[in-house]
């Protein structure tokens, strides 16, 4: 069974305002621009909202969303949980990392509609200023950030990354695929999907090492 669908009334080549501006800029400097038809219909197409239930930080939320809504936008714009950050919006920087069904993912590269019924943990669900998660505490103690924009993603990623090591998930630097253990090299490799433009990497690794030591001790 498929759910009901809408009839598409759009043209073949709709474009956003941003693309109009970009295309204009390209033409102005005389580079070859692919001709793009403008199609106002694409912008005015009525969108049928979708009902999506997300369990975020232990609480159910019933949302009515445009199908295009990413999980990140649902969290930030609809649930006002702005801890998860929009950096690149293309899965390259990791600032949007959240934990879905126990696994870290880029929330910018998935649709909220694909997570109906899923349990999601964001930075707000890991700890509070009064009751910090051990990794949050360690990031403060080790000065694991400068501007802080990547930090929620770094911490969510690190929490799930440590459990991946505990579960024996191998990485590119694991010398033995069958026997995986914590090391600084493992952290560097496994955290490569979280970019820090302030380059606080040594302190991020120190914070993670600290928590890992306490977990296994």
């Amino acid at each position: 069974m498929m759910t009901a669908e809408r009839t598409s009334a759009r043209g073949d080549d709709g474009m956003t305002r941003r693309n109009v501006l970009a295309a204009g800029a390209v033409t102005a400097v005389g580079l070859a621009a692919t001709p793009i038809e403008t199609s106002p219909a694409a912008q005015s197409l009525p969108v049928t909202p979708m009902l999506v239930r997300l369990n975020v930080n232990g609480k159910d939320h019933d949302l009515s969303l445009d199908p295009r809504t990413t999980l990140l936008d649902a969290l930030r714009e609809h649930l006002h949980l702005t801890g998860s950050k929009k950096g690149c919006d293309h899965g390259q920087c990791g600032a949007c990392t959240v934990i879905v069904e126990g696994r870290r993912i880029n929330s910018c590269l998935t649709l909220a509609a694909m997570h109906d019924g899923d349990e999601i943990v964001t930075i707000e669900g890991l700890g509070t200023p009064q009751d910090l998660h051990p990794l949050q505490k360690a990031f403060i103690e080790h000065d694991g950030y400068q501007c802080g924009y990547c930090t929620p993603g770094q911490i969510c990623s690190a929490v799930a990354m440590l459990s991946e090591i505990e579960r024996g998930v191998p990485s590119h630097v694991s010398a033995d695929l069958m026997d995986v253990a914590f090391s600084d090299d493992e952290v560097r490799e496994r955290m490569s999907g979280n970019i820090c433009r302030c380059a606080a990497y040594p302190n991020i690794i120190a914070a993670i090492r600290d928590v890992s030591g306490k977990r296994t001790a």
Binding site: R104, M114, V169, H172, S174, L177, M178
Partner: protein, 313 residues
């Protein structure tokens, strides 16, 4: 993103049927590549068919000793599977050499095979690209093409296929299982799955309209050592300039190469030769290089040399 309809499929055959009935429809599994392309309006599907709940997320033993990998098995889970780590280490190694931890948690086996090229001109909608817009030309041919293909290219396209996983599957002689819109199934040898560009670089695989991947079959494990070696600009989270998937054992040697073509590149005749020099020369016979990517010829020889040295160590 352009507006689209979103449906959840109930089973593989009805998903394939729905896709065939709606030209331009796309299956969505992990979505890590598709949604990226939709945000850039390079992909503008009028319909997304969500196949995440079809139960194709299992890895099962098959008669004769191989494995069937469900289409929706996530890259992390495939690399972490004990049987894969033990019996197909080249595949586990290839998987963990690709993307980031977050992406591997979401990206699926089928989606990895179907991911599109990362050619910068394919991604830049202001530039001509025969793959994105057939007939518009290829900006990569005279552009910055250091990462581009040197084997099996055409005047229409020099893009590479970016998968590491597929290179390991090629050396293992995997078979891609599919279901067609009429409900029939077939197996496509991985060697025939990805297509070289020719005059139609926008047609990238052997899949017919609506045909959906349901899984990948791995033949029984091959005796011997298995290595995946990837050379790239960064130590992590970067696509291959050149990669080598190798199996060397009592039944001979096998090599498949990534970063060279729009498919995993394997020349079986070269596997009868000895030494990196001779094998690399045979593998890259007929190479068409550019000013920027001619270094790949040397890099193939040296990467293969390093793999052979590691095999003997």
């Amino acid at each position: 993103m352009r507006p689209f309809n979103y449906q959840r499929a109930a089973d593989a055959a009805s998903a394939a049927k729905a896709a065939a009935q709606h030209p331009g429809a796309r299956f969505i599994a992990g979505g890590t590549n598709l949604l990226d392309l939709m945000k850039l309006q390079i992909e503008t599907p009028p319909l997304l068919i969500d196949i995440n709940h079809l139960g194709l997320d299992r890895i099962e033993k098959i008669d004769g000793g191989g494995l069937r990998i469900g289409a929706l098995v996530r890259n992390t889970d495939l690399a972490a599977d004990k049987r894969v780590r033990r019996d197909y280490p080249v595949l586990a190694r290839a998987l963990v050499s690709g993307a980031s931890g977050q992406l591997r948690n979401k990206a699926t086996t089928a989606g990895n095979l179907l991911q599109r090229t990362r050619c910068a001109y394919f991604y830049d909608t202001r530039m001509p690209c025969n793959k994105r817009k057939p007939g518009s030309g290829c900006a990569a041919l005279g552009g910055i093409n250091r990462g581009h293909a040197i084997m099996g290219t055409s005047d229409a396209c020099i893009a590479t296929h970016p998968s590491d996983m597929a290179v390991a599957m090629r050396v293992l002689d995997a078979v891609v299982e599919t279901v067609r819109p009429d409900g029939t199934t077939r197996g496509i040898p991985i060697a025939d799955f990805h297509l070289l560009p020719g005059d139609t670089p926008h047609i990238e695989t052997a899949l017919a309209p609506g045909e959906m991947i349901t899984g990948v079959l791995l033949p029984p494990p091959i005796a011997g050592r298995q290595i995946y070696r990837k050379v790239r600009d960064r130590a992590s989270y970067a696509f291959a300039l050149v990669s080598v998937a190798a199996v060397v054992g009592p039944d001979g040697q096998r090599f498949a190469f990534g970063g060279l073509a729009h498919k995993p590149w394997r020349v079986e005749a070269a596997e009868k030769l000895k030494g990196a020099e001779a094998i690399a020369a045979s593998v890259t016979l007929g190479a068409r290089t550019t000013e920027h990517n001619a270094f790949k010829l040397r890099l193939v020889r040296r990467t293969l040399g390093a793999v052979l040295a590691e095999m003997e160590a």
